[in-house]
C-alpha cells in the first residue's frame, strides 16, 4: 500500500519492483487491503517499514485521494490493521548492522525508541543541520514514534549535538 504514495498513473505504477510482496497477516481489514491496494500496484513497501496510526492514516488517505476504493466506513479498520501489524516495534527484523552511538544524555532513548520502526543505522548515518533534526524528530513523533514531549526534546538535543554535519 505504501508504495503507492508514489504512483502517478495506472501504468506508471509499474515502476521498479524492488521488494518481495509483503505478506499480510490475518486480521480484520486484511481483505480490504488485499483487494483495494493491489489494483494499481503490488504490496511491496519495504518490509522493515513501521508507522503508527497517524503515519498510516496519511498513506491510506493519500491512496483514497488518488482513487483507491476504500469506503468511508472502512478507513478506521484499515488504519488499525496497518498500525497493529506494521506499527512501531511489531515483528521488526533483526538489525543488519550494529550501531554504537556516542555517550551522552539521550543515547538510551534514541537507541530504544528510534529503532522500533527502522534500523538505528539510519539515525547514526544521518548528519543533519539543526533545523532538519527539528523537522525529522517532529515528523517521527507525528507518525508514531513513542516519545513524550520531554523525551523528544532530550532526543533532539542529543541528535543535534552528536549528529551535526561533519
Amino acid at each position: 500500500m505504501l508504495r503507492s504514495i508514489v504512483f502517478t498513473g495506472l501504468i506508471l505504477a509499474a515502476a521498479p519492483a524492488a521488494a518481495q510482496q509483503v505478506q499480510l497477516p490475518p486480521g480484520e481489514g486484511r481483505d480490504i487491503i488485499a483487494t483495494a491496494c493491489t489494483q494499481c500496484h503490488a504490496l511491496n513497501f519495504p518490509t522493515s517499514l513501521r508507522e503508527g496510526p497517524a503515519g498510516w492514516r496519511f498513506h491510506v488517505e493519500d491512496m483514497i485521494l488518488r482513487g483507491a476504493q476504500i469506503k468511508n466506513s472502512e478507513v478506521e479498520t484499515v488504519v488499525n490493521y496497518l498500525a497493529s501489524n506494521f506499527g512501531p516495534g511489531v515483528n521488526i527484523p533483526p538489525p543488519a548492522t550494529r550501531v554504537s552511538l556516542p555517550e551522552g544524555e539521550g543515547k538510551q532513548l534514541v537507541e530504544q525508541r528510534c529503532s522500533t520502526c527502522h534500523e538505528l543505522s539510519r539515525v547514526g548515518d544521518a548528519r543533519l543541520a539543526r533545523q532538519d533534526w527539528d523537522r525529522v524528530v517532529a515528523k517521527m513523533v507525528s507518525i508514531g514514534a513513542p516519545l513524550t514531549d520531554d523525551e523528544a526534546k532530550t532526543a533532539l538535543t542529543y541528535l543535534q549535538k552528536n549528529f551535526a554535519p561533519k
Binding site: 504514495i5 502517478t8 483495494a36 483514497i64
Partner: protein
C-alpha cells in the same frame, strides 16, 4: 498499418488494396472504408462540383502557398519561434489578417501552446519551429502523441541543393527523429506540391485518431514563386464520424439492460468526440455507475461530471463497488479495458489500434463515441418500456448513491482535517480553496505530479469546470498550454497549475508569451521545493537512499527559487503565498489582475509530504572549491 497508408498515399497501392489491408489488420470494414476515404484526395469530380471559391488557383512564394492552404483549412493561429529560413512563411502573413502569429521563445512552449489550443478546441494546432530547435519541441510532442492531439509541426529545412554538404546547421535526415512520435513526416518535394503536401499533413494530423505530424519544407521551395491549388477544408476533411453496426449496438443494449451489476468506464475519446452530454444521458437512462481513470493516462479530460451520484471514481480489475460486475461497457477509454473476472466486456472505441489490445473484449465496436452513444440510447429505449427502464435505473442509482455520498463525506473530512499545514500549505487546503474560488465554467489546466491530490476537492465535468491535463505527464507543459486554452476561450477563467519541478522543466519562457500577448491566466506553482512524488516513488522501493535517509536526487530548495520574482522579470506580476491564511487574498488579487487583462503567478509554499519529506539534506558539491586558482 502506417506502411499500408504510406504506400496508398504514394499511389503505390489501390484504395481497394488499402481497405483489404486495413481489414486484415483488424479494422471493421466500415472503419477501413471510412479511413480510406479520409485519406484519399477528393476525386476530380468532387473538385469540379465544389462551390465557387472552394478550390482556387493561387500564385505566390512557397511560403505563401503554405499559409494560404492553412488559412483555407480554418487555421487561425500559428504558434512559432522563427529562424532565417522560414522567413517566407512570415513574410506571407504581413498582409494576411486571418492568421495570428503567437510567438514562444522556447520550442517546447511553442508546441505546448499549440497543444493546449488543440485540446481545448478539438481543432488542429499549428507549430512552426527552427530546424535546429526541433529537438526542443519534441519533448512536448510526446504529450500530443500519446493523447492523440492533432498538431502540425513544421520547419524550414536546408535548401535542396545543399543537402549532404555539411552546411551550417545542416544535419541529415532531421525529419526521421520525429518518426516515433508522429503519425507521419514529409519533406515537401517541389514547390508546386506544397499545397497538396500541406493538405496531406493537415489531414493526417486531424483525421481521427488524430496525432502530431511533421512537415518540413526546404528553404529554396519556400522562397520560390510557385502556383498551387488551394482547397477549402471541406474538400479534404473527413471527420470519421462512423456509426456503429446496428446489430452490435442492439446486443450491447440488451446486455446492459439485463445486467445484474453493470459498470461503465469512460475516457478521453468521449471528449474528443464531444459526446459528454450523451454519455451522461446514457448513464442516467440505465443507472450505470461511471468510472474513469486513476491516473491521467487516457483520462486527461475527466469528461463525466465528478459531482454526479453515478460517478464512482476509478475503474479497476476487481471493483469493490459495484461488486461482481457482470457487464462492463468501456466508452472511449484507452486504458479502460481490464481483465475483469466474470464480466462480459463491451468496448466502444474510436481508435481501433488500441481496442482489444490487452484484455479480453467480448464485443468490440469501432465508432464515433457520440454517435454510438446516441444509437445505444435509442436501442435501449426501443428494447424496454419506459417504466421498466426507470425501475432498473432507480434501483442501480440508489445503490450507487449510497456509495458515492459516503465517499463525498470522506473526501470532505480529509479536506477539513488537513486544512492546517503549520508553516507550509497543505495541498488539500489549497484544493478546497480553489474549489471556492474558481468560476463554475473555469478551465483547470493541470501539469502536476503530487498536485493531483487536489483533484478530488474540486468538481469537473458537466455544468462544472473543465479539466485539461496530459496523459503521459511530460512536464513543462502547463503554463504554455494555459495560454493556448485562454486563446481559444478568452471569456472563461483559466487556471494553470504546475509543480516547482514542472515550472523548471519548461523554464520561465512561457511567461514571456503570457506577458507579450496579455493572456490573463492565473498560474500557480505548487512549490514544495522538491520532486516530491518522485522522491516518494524512489524511497518506497527501499533502496540505498531510503536506507541512508538521504535524498540524493529530488530536493530542489537549494537554490531556493523565487518564482514570483522570476515572473516579474518576465513582466508577469505575482506573489509568494506562504501560509494558508493568505490564500484567499492572493487569489482575489490574481482574479483582479486577470480582470485587468494581465496574467498572474502565485508561488505557493506547499508542504513536502510523504516519505523522506522532513529533511532538506542534499549532497553538497562546489565547483568553486575544486579550483586551485581563484578565477
Amino acid at each position: 498499418m502506417k506502411e499500408l497508408v504510406r504506400q496508398y498515399l504514394d499511389k503505390g497501392i489501390s484504395r481497394r488494396k488499402l481497405t483489404t489491408g486495413l481489414s486484415a489488420a483488424g479494422m471493421t470494414t466500415v472503419a477501413a472504408k471510412a479511413m480510406a476515404q479520409a485519406l484519399s484526395s477528393p476525386t476530380p469530380q468532387a473538385v469540379a462540383a465544389a462551390p465557387a471559391g472552394a478550390v482556387r488557383d493561387f500564385k505566390g512564394t512557397g511560403g505563401a502557398v503554405f499559409t494560404q492552404q492553412l488559412k483555407a483549412a480554418g487555421v487561425e493561429y500559428i504558434f512559432f519561434n522563427p529562424s532565417t529560413a522560414d522567413a517566407p512563411i512570415y513574410d506571407s502573413l504581413v498582409n494576411e489578417p486571418a492568421i495570428q502569429l503567437i510567438k514562444g521563445v522556447q520550442e517546447g512552449a511553442v508546441v505546448a501552446m499549440a497543444d493546449g489550443y488543440a485540446r481545448a478546441t478539438g481543432k488542429l494546432g499549428v507549430a512552426i519551429v527552427a530546424n535546429v530547435g526541433l529537438p526542443n519541441a519534441l519533448t512536448q510532442v510526446v504529450n500530443s502523441w500519446k493523447d492523440q492531439i492533432p498538431i502540425l509541426l513544421a520547419a524550414a529545412s536546408i535548401a535542396q541543393d545543399n543537402v549532404g554538404r555539411e552546411q551550417f546547421q545542416e544535419y541529415e535526415h532531421i525529419e526521421s527523429m520525429t518518426q516515433p512520435i508522429t503519425k507521419w513526416n514529409w519533406v515537401a518535394a517541389s514547390s508546386d506540391t506544397i499545397a497538396e503536401t500541406t493538405r496531406r499533413a493537415i489531414k493526417y494530423a486531424s483525421t481521427p485518431p488524430a496525432a502530431p505530424v511533421y512537415l518540413s519544407i526546404p528553404e529554396n521551395l519556400l522562397r520560390l514563386e510557385s502556383s498551387g491549388q488551394i482547397y477549402d477544408h471541406a474538400l479534404f476533411n473527413v471527420p470519421m464520424t462512423i456509426r456503429p453496426a446496428k446489430d452490435d449496438i442492439e446486443r450491447a443494449a440488451r446486455m446492459l439492460i439485463e445486467a445484474k451489476s453493470p459498470l461503465m468506464s469512460f475516457g478521453d475519446e468521449v471528449t474528443l468526440c464531444k459526446g459528454e452530454k450523451e454519455m451522461v444521458e446514457l448513464a442516467d437512462l440505465l443507472g450505470l455507475p461511471a468510472a474513469g481513470g486513476t491516473g491521467a493516462l487516457g483520462f486527461w479530460s475527466k469528461p463525466f461530471p465528478t459531482r454526479h451520484p453515478l460517478f464512482i471514481g476509478g475503474v479497476f480489475r476487481q471493483m469493490r463497488f459495484p461488486e461482481n460486475v457482470d457487464v462492463h461497457l468501456n466508452l472511449g477509454f484507452k486504458h479502460g479495458e481490464l481483465a475483469m473476472a466474470g464480466a462480459k466486456q463491451i468496448s466502444i472505441r474510436r481508435d481501433p489500434a488500441s481496442l482489444a489490445r490487452g484484455a479480453p473484449v467480448d464485443l468490440p465496436i469501432v465508432a464515433d463515441i457520440r454517435l454510438a452513444t446516441i444509437d445505444l440510447i435509442e436501442a435501449v429505449k426501443s428494447l424496454a418500456t419506459k417504466e421498466r427502464l426507470k425501475q432498473i435505473a432507480d434501483d442501480r442509482l440508489e445503490k450507487a448513491r449510497a456509495f458515492t455520498s459516503e465517499q463525498a463525506k470522506l473526501i470532505a473530512r480529509i479536506g477539513r482535517e488537513h486544512s492546517d499545514g503549520g508553516t507550509a500549505i497543505r495541498m488539500e487546503r489549497l484544493g478546497v480553496e480553489l474549489e471556492q474560488w474558481l468560476d463554475k465554467d473555469a478551465i483547470y489546466v493541470c501539469d502536476v505530479d503530487s498536485g493531483k491530490r487536489m483533484d478530488p476537492f474540486m468538481n469537473f465535468g458537466g455544468d462544472d469546470k473543465r479539466y485539461i491535463g496530459t496523459g503521459p505527464n511530460i512536464l513543462g507543459w502547463g503554463m504554455a498550454a494555459g495560454l493556448g486554452v485562454k486563446l481559444a476561450f478568452p471569456n472563461q477563467q483559466v487556471l494553470s497549475v504546475v509543480g516547482d519541478g514542472s515550472f523548471l522543466f519548461s523554464g520561465p519562457q512561457p511567461l514571456w508569451s503570457l506577458a507579450r500577448y496579455e493572456a490573463p491566466t492565473t498560474n500557480i506553482v505548487l512549490n514544495n521545493k522538491s520532486y516530491n512524488n518522485e522522491r516518494n516513488r524512489i524511497w518506497m522501493t527501499g533502496g540505498a537512499q531510503f536506507k541512508a535517509g538521504r535524498d540524493f536526487t529530488c530536493y530542489n530548495g537549494s537554490p531556493d527559487v523565487d518564482y514570483a520574482a522570476v515572473a516579474k522579470a518576465f513582466g508577469v506580476d505575482g506573489e509568494k503565498v506562504m501560509e494558508a491564511s493568505q490564500i484567499k487574498d492572493a487569489l482575489a488579487r490574481a482574479r483582479k489582475a486577470n480582470m485587468d487583462g494581465k496574467p498572474y503567478l502565485l508561488d505557493v509554499n506547499i508542504q513536502r509530504d510523504g516519505v523522506g519529506a522532513a529533511s532538506t539534506w542534499h549532497p553538497e558539491y562546489s565547483i568553486a572549491d575544486k579550483r586551485a586558482r581563484k578565477v
